[in-house]
Amino acid sequence: MDTLPAAATSMGSMEHSEVTDADLVSQTLAGNRDAFGCLFDRHGAMVRAVVGRVSRDWPTVEDMTQECFLRAFNRLASLRDRDQFGVWVVGIARHVARERRRTLRRDRHEFGNPANARATTSGVADLETAEQIEQLMQTLSNLPERERLAIHAHFLQEYNAQQAAELLNLSRSGFYALLKKALARLVATLNAHNQQEETKS
């Protein structure tokens, strides 16, 4: 009764199957914990991206991510539109990130310490590229929220174009309009930053 279709239980591939988020939420509420694991497979990376805004320290990011999903689990019964699980858990992630940012502000060294800056660059062999990516992600973290989310949704392989647009409650064309705006702003901000650095030195 509580078993999932095979496609959903073999979520190691993280592919979206015809099993919807709503199915997985229902299965979880019926007591199937693995179904919740599948929801984590689908949206875990997005939540890491969202909370990664306030810390670049991997253990902190992981800790916040788990916190988000624990809260989601505990409140799952209150989710009205079960197909909106992704949107919902991203909302929880933003909330958790804000809470944590306040703590981290008091403890300023964490974000700025390059030794901790490993959330998205460990495994990048080339140090210069790693630094560039860190700079890029820092700049990204200052973009307006919707633009930031559009970039995450587009670049995370967990979502196809339709799902990325749905995550932001946009049409496909609306999503792409937001995405190109976000990228343009990101590059403009990076260039402004680099120019500033040049004039300083």
Partner: protein, 348 residues
């Protein structure tokens, strides 16, 4: 053709378009080619950074499932109160004041739109929705009052800012914070706030300071808050999609501006919630809205905000003198800087 804009280049970099004209231009223009190459590097790096977010996922999943509370079903929901939100980050006092005034007025605008878009059980709200859907323009006066003008160690700010707001149904907006409306206790008028924001829908905005004779293009860059009412409308609609159950409480009937009005209280925390992280004041208590009993259009809106992370002073904002469907000069929304004014637009 002219050089490609950053957005057009972004469109090419993510491969959502293939315009022959653009491709032809790229062949002939080394500058655009270079910019496109930079964008392609950025998208490749973004892809790499996002792939890295999957690191250790299997182990993380195992840990998460272990941590789930024991028991057959997830427990019943526990409602937690929203944390106060921060805003005004990194702005000086002048910018903070301006932004607070403008964001408060923007919220009023949003709120009006929100009311227009939501279907409430209350009949009055239904009627108002109908009336609003036909409204072409609106002019109001918004007064923001700071409860606690004595703030040792903090820049001196005014006690009271009054702005005149013009809006068109198409989304154009204009906020005039004129000096004659600004008062500081014991100091009279404070003229450095003689500032106008022009925010045409979908086009770059303009901030004109008549005191310093300077202007800035696109005041959105003052903070991450997007001041374009149309953007906000979209966000509000989305927010509503998630919280369709907003309830209203009746505040009864009273006479405002010699008109009979019905009042309602609405939980603004719920309505404006997370989406306005960077631009909303921290609301203190419900938002009060009063509707003209005859026209069903808003006649007065009042809200209070409490000190947040970076906002030291509680304040209240009252929006009154609603004038609906008045003839509005289209020139009000043209974002052209006055001659001789100095461009202070920060580099993008």
């Amino acid at each position: 053709m002219a050089c490609l804009s950053q957005e057009q280049l972004a469109q090419l970099a993510i491969g959502i378009t293939e315009e022959p004209e653009w491709t032809a231009h790229l062949r002939d223009c080394p500058r655009c080619r270079e910019k496109l190459a930079q964008l392609q590097t950025v998208t490749a790096q973004l892809a790499a950074a996002h792939n890295a977010l999957r690191r250790g996922h299997a182990e993380s999943r195992r840990q998460l499932l272990e941590k789930l509370p024991v028991g057959e079903h997830p427990p019943q929901p526990v409602r937690t109160r929203r944390q106060p939100l921060s805003w005004f980050k990194g702005l000086n006092m002048k910018q903070r004041i301006l932004l607070s005034g403008v964001s408060a007025t923007a919220i009023v605008a949003l709120f009006v739109t929100w009311i227009a878009l939501t279907a409430k059980p209350l009949f009055a709200m239904e009627l108002m929705k109908e009336s609003l859907s036909k409204a072409k323009s609106c002019k109001t006066t918004s007064v923001m009052e700071f409860d606690d003008p004595v703030r040792p160690g903090i820049d001196e700010g005014p006690d009271r800012i009054s702005s005149v707001i013009y809006e068109l149904a198409v989304g154009d907006g204009r906020f005039d914070a004129g000096d004659k409306y600004i008062e500081i206790k014991g100091k009279g008028a404070l003229s450095y706030l003689n500032t106008i924001y022009i925010l045409p829908a979908g086009r770059p905005g303009l901030e004109i300071n008549h005191f310093t004779k300077t202007f800035r293009r696109d005041p959105v860059k003052l903070g991450v808050l997007s001041l374009n009412p149309r953007n906000h409308t979209m966000r509000i609609c989305e927010e509503l999609g998630r919280h369709p159950e907003k309830a209203n409480r009746s505040l009864g009937t009273k006479i405002i501006d010699a008109k009979k009005a019905h009042g309602f209280a609405i939980d603004g925390e719920e309505v404006f919630g997370d989406e306005h992280e960077d631009g909303r004041p921290d609301l203190d208590g419900p938002i009060e809205v009063w509707l003209d009993a005859a026209t069903h259009l808003p006649i007065k809106i009042h809200m209070k905000s409490k000190p947040g992370n970076n906002q030291q002073t509680p304040s209240s904002t009252t929006t009154t003198y609603f004038q609906w469907n008045i003839k509005t000069d289209p020139k009000l929304f043209i974002a052209t800087p006055p001659q001789g004014y100095v461009d202070e637009t920060p580099p993008n």
